[in-house]
Symmetry: none
Subunit: 297 residues, 2 copies
Amino acid sequence: MNRTALSPKEMAEAIGVSESSLKRWADGGLIRVARTAGGHRRISLPEAVRFVREQGIPIVRPELLGLPEVSSLQLELQRAGSETDRLYDFLTTGRSKEARGVVTSAYLRGTSAAQLADDIIAPAMARVGDLWRHDPAGIFVEHRATDIMIQAVNQLRLLIEPPANAPEAVGGAPAGDPYVLPSLLVATVLTAEGYHAVNLGANCPTDSLLQAAQQHKARLAWISISGVTLEPFLARDMVDFSGKLAAMGTRLIIGGRTRPVLPAGSDRHIQTGVTMAELAAFARGLLAADDARQQAS
Amino acid sequence: MNRTALSPKEMAEAIGVSESSLKRWADGGLIRVARTAGGHRRISLPEAVRFVREQGIPIVRPELLGLPEVSSLQLELQRAGSETDRLYDFLTTGRSKEARGVVTSAYLRGTSAAQLADDIIAPAMARVGDLWRHDPAGIFVEHRATDIMIQAVNQLRLLIEPPANAPEAVGGAPAGDPYVLPSLLVATVLTAEGYHAVNLGANCPTDSLLQAAQQHKARLAWISISGVTLEPFLARDMVDFSGKLAAMGTRLIIGGRTRPVLPAGSDRHIQTGVTMAELAAFARGLLAADDARQQAS
DNA sequence: GGTAAAATCGATCAAATCGTTCAATTCCTG
DNA sequence: CAGGAATTGAACGATTTGATCGATTTTACC
């Protein structure tokens, strides 16, 4: 079941080390622990996840971390094929638990959220999307797979905790674009990069996005384009839009399957990308620049 | 429910410790408690806040402490509506963590998934949906709220596990209907009722639904209508559709904001409902009938 | 006002965790 | 390979925690 906090013993058993070592690591500051009034250590799940990822520690008993789907996945003895193949297999056969396991365990093993999206999830979903061309049952399988994927990414999102003073990021899919998953992935990637991501989801007018950015004093805004093409007139809208955002200190990044073509010379305040890795890199760069500026002052 | 005073049980749940520990801390002077005439402990909200701050104890379920900025010293004890009010507040102000807390804690306290949907989530989302009429920022708030709600329901869904041999249920929103949340709620309610629910999400053609029902040998199929109205010709489609489903042992239930009007005399294999409670009742009835038949044989 | 259900009381007890010490193991370096 | 440093895991008594109990108080409802 879903734990809110772990005791040293639980986490020690989960990763297969002694309780003593875990306590020593906690006392040495390697693991951030809260304390009960009586002095007992309590470890939050996102903190445990952060630690095992950074240290590259294999998880022996995932169910102790509240992640039973990871353990059930281990029962599927190393099947042949890449992670994408396995994910595709689980998605098309409706095995949601195993699909969640693929995503979660890949992240726990150290795969970055962006890599996960680019190299595992996107290819699998692309293959799922091709199904309906050949298979009459493709549409239902695609719908089911999408739902499963949304579940999996939402679960992943809960395992990541941005720092307390994280800058805000706001975004969504443009008006007329009904796809939920891509924007959800962006929100997850940005959370992993240390932002507090506010996802406005599918079909979100730019006006609404602008207001959200204002209210949240967002450092970064994203638009995730999947279901519509960025028409030239829309591209001009975007340039105008990004100008308004820039005026209040918010940088805009636009992404999608294909790199949007913007009017020449308009790439001053507007960034485009087709992969989550690009998005993550840009977001990281923005943070680094802000940090440098703060240190200088 | 903004309480002026907390019971030991409430505060214990809020910070994720046992009631015993809290009472011991109170008796040891760590927490200043008032006593009722009968000797029960009462902890003031400021005292609770002071304690968790001093001890650095993470607050697991902040909604139980009532939020300071809600400020209004409403003495009203927990009514059915108060939870909706809090949820609405969290949804409109973008506090996703707290919103998830309302949903999860309500479920953990014993509220059924159907009740949660009908009495807490639906009213809150309806109020959110009214926002755009009066507030220019309404659209963005609505999008943000929807995303938060989807997260919360997905999290709830992960907390519920159907029995191993659960019958399958398949459904989604009809073609042209872009709303994700209602069908997700149906899937969650059915999971809580003991079904293995396969959600095909928004904008799902009936053909795909039929194929999914076939492949899964579904006992139950649902169509959740939100964004489109059930036109008469579509209604006739539905009767035809439900006939095909019935032929393979799948019962159909159609739901939405308004009760769909079906051609007279067609209600043999088709069920309609406007509340999740109706849906849950029908699903339960189906299960009970099956069980009785199995026992008889 | 009266009654039944729910919550809380105070107390007890087993299990978990505390901080510390120490021996065994691993790692590093000359 | 020898030997010192660092890491690990086990053990210890003292303390903390969480579950449980029958008795009492509070709350909800009529």
